[in-house]
Structure formats: C-alpha cells, structure tokens
Subunit: 203 residues, 2 copies
C-alpha cells in the first residue's frame, strides 16, 4: 500500500498502528506541544526515525492519530496566499471543499468525539485553534495582539457551520449550494478577521 | 417544592418523573409534531389533565423533558418586539444571557447529547429550528420563502458560539466580555436575517 500524497510505502500495518496508538495516548496525556516524537517512538518500541519515515512531521502524526479530515498544511497556503483581500471567501470555500468531500464523514466523527472527550477537546484547541488559526492570522499580517480573539471568532462560525450543515443536518442549510453558503458566510469571516475590534475585546 | 416561574406546586415527584420519562420516549420515537399529550398521558398511565397541570403546554413538556436551558416562549418576545431593527443585537445578548447564566451548564449537556444521539438531533431540529427560529423569522415580517435558510444561517453562528465559548472553551472567546461578543456577532446575525440572499439560495 502506498501513501497517495508521497508515494512512500506505508510499511508494516502493525507497526504503523502501534505508533498511532502510542501517539494517541501521548497527545491525550501531554497535549500537542509537550509531546515529542522521541517519546512516542519509545512507547511504541520503535526507532524515532521510523516514526518520521511513516508519518513525516509531528503535525502529520497528530493529524493521522485523530483521523483528521484534512491537512491544514496543504489547505492553508492557498487561503493565505493573496493576503487579506478575499481571505474570508477563500477560507469558507476551502472549508466547504473539505467537508462536502470524502473527508466530511471523518470530520463529523472527529467533531462528535471532540464534544464527548475532554482530552480530545484539548488537542483540537491546542492544534487547530492555537497553532493553525493563530498562525494563519499572523501570516496574514493582522495585528497579533488581537489575533487570538479573531481566530476564535472565525472558529465559532466554522464550527457552527460544521455542526449545522453536517452533524445536525439542518435544512435547507445542509443541502444548500456551496456558493450560496460562501456568499453568506464569507463576509462574516472577512469581518471577524479585519474589522476594527471593540475596545473591550480581549487580548 | 414550587416551580419558580409559575409558583405552581410540582406535585408528586414520582408522577412527574413518570410523565417526563414517557415524554422522552414519545418525542424520541415520534418527533415533536406528531406526539400528543394524550399519548404521553396514556404511556405514563395518568390523566391528560394532570400532564397539563404539571407542565402546561406540549412545548413546555418538551423543554422539561430535554432539560432545556431556557424557554424560548419567555425569551423570544423581547427579541422580536422592536422589529427587525437591532434584532441581531437583541438575539446575541439574550443568547449570552442564557448561556453565561445558570442555564449554561444544561445547555452544554444538551448540546453534547444532541451530537451523540440521533433521536435528540431530530427533536432539536424540529423544535428549536423549525418551530422557534422559523416562527421568529415569520413574526419579524421577513420573507417567508427564504426564512428557513436565514433561520439555519442564524442557527449556525449561534451553535458555533455555544460550541466555541461553552463546550470547547476556546480562549480568549470563552472569557471575553459579553459586550465584545455582542459587538462582533450582532452584525452577523442581523445580516443573515435581513441582507439580500444570493439567487441560488435554497427555499
């Protein structure tokens, strides 16, 4: 079996699953930042080089361990490129592309689990919000002081879209044309990222 | 024990719990619209008048059976009164009032369950979205044709706010001043309710 993205052999499925299992435990116990590949390799009783060989970076190991519907490292550059102009539209369109695509079902599973399992909540928070969204805000050249508030506002609308359209399947939003959703939500995301914040905004 | 809202005696706790249990089953099986008080009374082996005596309307029985954090019948008139002008702001403020208040914990429990239990999903959908939000859209005098799409767009942002601020507790949104959240979210809700929809909008 080969990995579609890199063409690299996936190797022994048992070893691979052993590493994923160790990764799930370590990430859940220590969070994303504090977990090291070395520790995961130790727990899985393999060489750290093998972990890198199978999964690449720590980011990618986390994404594999939670069966993430997408790899932010692949999606984000296309959203950030082009800068602040139209970023809301590009973000909503990319989000719908992932969730309306084959990864959507895994997204629903992940969201369901995140709501039920506090340890997974922490991971989602630490990885998707702190790392990915805040990095994106920074790379867009937006004010970093208030960037975290902006990132969580964006997260609130995207989480809600996932809940309403894919988990609860609220009609007619669930069946609405992608472009109709983009037309309504893009200005919201754009505003959360760029509009002047009130004086009492945190950060 | 008295019911804080009406001052009415709650009566025998066993009978009350028996009715709630029957209601939960009936609502889950039949959905909200098709369930009758008569059927619930029959299942609980009590007189229908007793169900009305304990819980009032079918709406209130549903709200009690899912331990709803709030009664839309109490909150909505204040939001709708005053018409379309400023309705986004009143809705966000009322929403935060409920969730930041003592009912917030029950809201988190309800949202967690709604994600995990398909039957509860259907109830939440049928009651909160179809009945409450769509009625509100109608009472605001907005175009009814597209009202359902507007209602689910509003639901997406409010669900996402609940997820981000109260379930996943994403900081700094989770700890942000109510008024900072109102300032950022009110224009979103206002826009979903009133801005011209794209041509390909469903409905």
């Amino acid at each position: 079996m080969t990995n579609g993205r890199t063409g690299r052999r996936r190797g022994n499925p048992d070893t691979r699953e052993q590493i994923l299992e160790a990764a799930r435990h370590a990430f859940a116990e220590e969070g994303f930042e504090r977990t090291t590949i070395r520790r995961i390799a130790q727990d899985a009783e393999v060489d750290p080089a093998l972990v890198h060989h199978y999964f690449g970076s720590k980011d990618q190991l986390l994404l594999a361990s939670i069966d993430s519907p997408f790899d932010p490292g692949e999606v984000l550059p296309g959203i950030i490129e082009g800068g602040v102009d139209g970023v809301g539209e590009r973000l909503v369109r990319a989000f719908l592309g992932v969730w309306d695509g084959p990864g959507g079902k895994r997204g629903v599973v992940l969201l369901r689990s995140a709501v039920a399992q506090p340890l997974l909540v922490r991971l989602v928070r630490e990885f998707f919000v702190s790392r990915i969204l805040k990095t994106a805000v920074k790379e867009l050249g937006l004010d970093i002081d208030k960037g975290a508030f902006r990132a969580t506002l964006v997260a609130s609308q995207l989480l809600g879209l996932a809940m309403a359209r894919y988990v609860l399947k609220l009609e007619p939003l669930a069946g609405a044309d992608q472009e109709a959703v983009v037309a309504m939500l893009a200005p919201t995301i754009q505003r959360y990222l760029t509009e002047a914040l009130p004086e009492n905004a945190p950060g």
